[in-house]
């Protein structure tokens, strides 16, 4: 029994270390104020790089772009997915199945292929480097997840409830207000949070369609590590500005909405 416990701790410990180690090193880089190449650990820790990224115009703008685009993408995605999710969740007909398959197919397609196909269209319409034009671009990856969440929420509402309310004289609006909203808000909120998260993490479409005019946080991180400057400390500080909210969102979804989904963002 004791031998088994040791094995458990050893195996699970190894897996957890494998998952967490890169994150710990990221934190170490973000707080390393002085770290000479010949040293194994930083000689001085502090918040220097956080203040630097928030004072630097470029990175400050990328922070603003990321955290203003995400709620806009969330609102637009919800506006599109709530009516569609209502139909898919309450009417299980052929049209619903076709729609679901089309949206699922979208999930399997690499974002870069769609981005390359969009590039000439955006160029033709003069939408490259345009902040507002990134909203629909970010919605491409967000829609399948949001729609799934909302559809599932509507599927769980018993059809009879709507019928009973209608028989008792409730208007269509009253049915939505008194039947659907109280029973589906968790799913809708989860869908909205997915869209928010997706936009925050979206990288390749922003690079193709928004760069260099609009740089979000992932694009700025890439600039620091993708061969332009090779300076890990500011990139680490910027990374934490996305990772901490992302993990917070994950914890929120798991704890309050009992949903879990991965959002890597291309």
């Amino acid at each position: 029994m004791r031998k088994q416990k040791i094995w458990d701790i050893l195996i699970i410990g190894l897996v957890v270390a494998y998952i967490v180690l890169p994150l710990l090193v990221l934190v170490e880089y973000a707080f390393a104020e002085v770290w000479y190449a010949y040293q194994l650990f930083p000689s001085k820790l502090g918040f220097k790089w956080f203040s630097w990224v928030l004072e630097n115009y470029d990175t400050r703008m990328s922070f603003i772009y990321s955290y203003t685009l995400a709620p806009l993408v969330m609102i637009a995605t919800l506006a599109l997915c709530i009516p569609a999710g209502y139909v898919l969740g309450t009417r299980r007909n052929k049209l619903s199945l076709i729609t679901e398959n089309l949206v699922n197919m979208n999930m399997a397609l690499p974002v870069i292929v769609i981005g390359v196909g969009l590039l000439p269209l955006y160029s033709r319409l003069g939408l490259l480097n345009n902040y507002w034009a990134l909203i629909p671009a970010h919605m491409i990856g967000a829609i399948p997840y949001t729609l799934r969440s909302i559809t599932a929420a509507f599927m769980q509402v018993p059809r009879e409830l709507e019928e009973v309310a209608r028989v008792l004289g409730a208007s269509k609006l009253k049915v939505i207000q008194k039947v659907y909203i109280p029973l589906t808000w968790r799913g809708i909120l989860a869908g909205g949070v997915f869209a928010f998260s997706w936009s925050l993490n979206e990288f390749i479409l922003t690079m193709l369609l928004g760069f260099p005019g609009v740089k979000t946080l992932p694009v700025s991180i890439y600039e620091y590590v993708g061969g332009y400057y090779l300076t890990p400390q500011p990139a680490a500080a910027l990374s934490l500005l996305i990772v901490v909210p992302a993990i917070g969102i994950a914890a929120f979804l798991e704890k309050y909405l009992q949903v879990s989904l991965g959002l890597g963002g291309g």
Binding site: K5, W7, D8, I9, I11, I12, V15, I19, P22, V25, L26, Y29, L80, P83, A84, R91, L95, S96, L102, N104, N106, A108, L109, P110, V111, I112, V113, I114, G115, V116, G117, L119, P120, L121, S123, R124, P136, A137, M139, I140, I143, N201, F203, M207, L208, P218, I221, Y222, V225, G226, A236, S239, V243, A246, A250, A251, E254, G262, G264, G266
Partner: protein, 292 residues
């Protein structure tokens, strides 16, 4: 045929979604397919030609080699992730360690870390002054396998890409296996044990046959995700050879070779359709079998 009020509501509610998908997904995909044969949907020079395809298969051009490199590295990452994820899920299913309940949420971390950040995290560990670089090179040198430190990131063998991909895909594989494994009847496992089967026999003769559709579907989706992801090969890959999707990015942003980028895009569309089909086909089958 009479259209009911219900149908009208359905169409009205679904119309914005269809309009969005048409403009933002299907027209771009059509543009990629037509563009691969030289036909432009959005103006500019438009003339049917197979030049892009000829360039793609020309061995003196980088595309064919990139394609092989992409498939080769993605297959290795898939095999490692699937085997490691499956074995860990089986281990937890058989042993049911109590400690796992307390720390299981740690496993979801890679799912919520943006790929760009995940790739960067591995870069900090693997670049010449990174901790893992010291450890791995130190071990290999002390064993006499190498004489001087080898690059573990931005390297020509795709080692950095493998580290980054496996970190994310291992967790995805584990999560996709863990659920189906919990549905395997404990009676079957107990019966096998009573008949004298070892743990390894139980894995081979009970768990693997029952969850084989889950294994096929998970492998397909992980292979597709690894081949399609851009951020990790872009940050952790070397200057040569490149992943095919990185080639697409370079083609359109630096070299302006749109036609070859579209041809590479067509390869991805076909792969997505084939692997996506395998995934959905076997996940459906798996569900049916589990319900029975």
């Amino acid at each position: 045929m009479k259209i009911s009020k219900d149908d009208i509501i359905s169409i009205l509610f679904l119309f914005p979604l269809y309009a969005f998908l048409a403009v933002m997904v299907f027209i771009p995909l059509l543009n990629v397919v037509l563009g691969s044969v030289g036909i432009s949907l959005f103006g500019g020079q438009s003339k049917f030609s197979l030049e892009g395809y000829l360039k793609f298969i020309d061995p003196s051009e980088p595309y064919l080699y990139s394609l092989f490199f992409t498939i080769y590295i993605s297959l290795i990452a898939t095999v490692i992730s699937v085997i490691a994820g499956y074995l860990f899920a089986v281990y937890l299913t058989i042993k049911k360690p109590r400690i796992w309940q307390k720390i299981s949420t740690v496993m979801t971390v890679p799912l919520f870390v943006p790929y760009v950040v995940g790739a960067f995290m591995w870069w900090t560990l693997l670049f010449p002054s990174g901790y893992l670089s010291y450890v791995i090179n130190g071990i290999l040198m002390s064993l006499g396998i190498i004489k001087s430190p080898i690059p573990l990131v931005n390297d020509p063998h795709g080692i950095g890409i493998l580290f980054g991909e496996v970190w994310i895909r291992f967790v995805v594989a584990f999560m996709m296996f863990y659920g189906p494994l919990q549905l395997v009847s404990q009676d079957l496992v107990d019966a096998a044990r009573t008949l004298g089967a070892s743990t390894w026999d139980i894995i081979r003769k009970v768990y693997i046959p029952i969850t084989k559709y889950s294994i096929i579907a998970t492998s397909a989706i992980i292979l597709l995700a690894t081949m399609a992801g851009v951020s990790i090969p872009l940050i952790l890959g070397g200057s040569w050879p490149q992943f095919l999707n990185v080639m697409i990015y370079i083609d359109v942003t630096r070299l302006f070779r749109f036609q070859t980028a579209y041809v590479s895009g067509v390869f991805y569309i076909i792969s997505s359709l084939v692997l996506g089909y395998i995934f959905f086909r076997f996940t459906t089958k798996r569900v049916i079998i589990q319900v029975r």
